[in-house]
Subunit: 215 residues, 2 copies
DNA sequence: CAGCTATGAATGAACG
DNA sequence: CGTTCATTCATAGCTG
């Protein structure tokens, strides 16, 4: 992008205003930044959670892994009603169309094709190009697997169930890396408003600065 | 809130596309919700930090983390090909670092760079140069795909289907809160259950999905 | 209500 | 590099 960092935001703000509310609210750059920040926060949260858990393990916890049973301040503040994540489900009509196209053996649903198909299917319900793309991918994969799994035995029936109920003790604590630890403490420092260490990346404040959010 | 309508977000997206030239937009309301979500993440991190602090205060845990071995107990014990990890999975920390590097615009995954990055990441988990190379390749490809294709086909008969949830308010934050929550618990679950597969809930992709950013 | 199955979606790896 | 494949995860929906 051509906008420079200094007054880039202001200029872009002007751009927004000029183009009205329906224009782009965030530039691609900003969205990218946002993505980064979300990821950063998720990483911090996860590591905090990990560390928290590992320390909990020191207290000789044995069976806290049932999500619902686990309650602490976090769920207290966020434990309100939740909306199950939605995933696209093709309507019968859409499915029919997709099947037809698939049967036509075009085999290679190019991007252009995808667009067209998505357009057509949109007439019959909500759909995105990604949905179409995924559908074809899955369709093909599934077909292959059906035919190909005649003699092959890739199924270690032992591991599938065992893995789920794997009784892990405190061993995995040792698998924490120093990097996780340092990152964790960096995250803490940043959250607590302390001075930045080496990396000095604060997703939250960075966000505030970048977008003027909460400001 | 009535959430029997599982197409709220998509419909709103359609609305956006109809009324604006660009699919990559966030309405002011969406930005508002986004703010709240960032705050939510911040709050989670803070509370985790507090929790950690209180626990650290009572228990000395210095030096419990060493090594970053990535060994699945099963395969480690038997060395048999029961659950071969055929596919590298970046730890959140590794992912974070990669994202940072990618975002720094260095953009040049030269051989030398790859080596360096791999070295750095190796400190946080099992990784190879090929993994790094692939990751950058995939990252770039994905980026381009996202930017290059916008959902461009609005539903034609929108007018007939009255948009009851056009302003879509709290759906977003509820979904996101759920995502954060589940991310947190899944992280714990995974650590308790199995060390591998640290890919829990992905807030970034959730964001993309829910808001249609870049999509 | 609980487990199972089908399948949408995410992503590392590979191909041309 | 852009596209495709293979594998895996998570969930919607069915069934007992």
């Amino acid at each position: 992008m051509e906008r420079e960092n200094q007054h880039g935001e202001e200029e872009y703000l002007q751009y927004q205003i000029q183009n009205g509310v329906c224009g782009k609210v965030m530039s691609d750059e900003q969205v990218e930044e946002l993505k980064k920040q979300i990821v950063a926060y998720s990483a911090i949260s996860e590591q905090l959670a990990e560390l928290h858990k590992s320390m909990s393990a020191r207290h000789d916890f044995t069976g806290i892994r049932l999500g619902n049973l686990y309650c602490d301040p976090i769920s207290a503040s966020f434990g309100h009603k939740i909306t199950p994540r939605q995933r696209w489900t093709p309507t019968p009509l859409q499915l029919q169309i997709l099947e037809n196209i698939y049967e036509q053996g075009t085999g290679t649903p190019s991007k252009q094709k995808i667009k067209e198909i998505a357009s057509e299917l949109a007439q019959h319900g909500q759909i995105s190009e990604t949905n179409v793309y995924n559908w074809f991918q899955n369709r093909r994969a599934r077909s292959k697997r059906k035919f190909g799994s005649a003699n092959a035995e890739p199924e270690p029936d032992v591991s599938t169930k065992e893995k789920k109920t794997k009784p892990v003790g405190l061993d995995f604590i040792d698998s924490f890396s120093q990097g996780v630890e340092s990152f964790y403490f960096q995250g803490i420092d940043q959250l607590m408003g302390k001075e930045e260490s080496s990396r000095g990346y604060d997703p939250y404040n960075n966000l505030v600065e970048q977008f003027g959010l909460l400001g």
